[in-house]
Symmetry: C2
Subunit: 116 residues, 2 copies
Amino acid sequence: MSPSEVHRVCTRFHAAIELIGARWTGAILRVLFTDQHRYAQIKAAVPGLSDTMLAERLRTLEADGLVERRVIPSSPVQVEYHLTDKGLDLEPVLEAVMSWSHRWIPLPGESVSARD
Amino acid sequence: MSPSEVHRVCTRFHAAIELIGARWTGAILRVLFTDQHRYAQIKAAVPGLSDTMLAERLRTLEADGLVERRVIPSSPVQVEYHLTDKGLDLEPVLEAVMSWSHRWIPLPGESVSARD
């Protein structure tokens, strides 16, 4: 294959996979799909996720149009994070990752190879 | 929802999405699906990817069992990188990301919102 025949990777695919796969982002998106919308719920659902990182990731997801911040006029006021249409449309991606992970990623404590 | 009702994100999903979404990794995997298997071809297909990073990523992908390094006994000897069964099984994930990216990520130079 000569250099002129290089089949370059799609820039939109490249942007998308790194947007979704950024550290903590995939996990946060997954939590939002499981009807957990409040900051404390998201934090509790992702072990190891710090406040600083969660706040930063939610801001980035909002800026990227995947997540919408909703202020609920209750007393006290509550803030919820919901997926936008763009975010909800990631469901087939997350389902495919979940399915692959259950075929190939061992459970914690499980040996990677049963043959060892 | 009380803290005891927290629905924790699946650790296997979390590991998988960050494995695939690590910087450059998704793009490299995509290139391997397009029948480009040699180091120079992969590098040429991913703009901005440095030698150091490509070498490091290929080692990681090999260690994770997604990519197999094959030495072709030609003259001169050639090295090729091929997806393993575990890597090939990512096709539905990459297809779902590609499809989503074409719906939601603007082409380079295109406005994010045509309504602006």
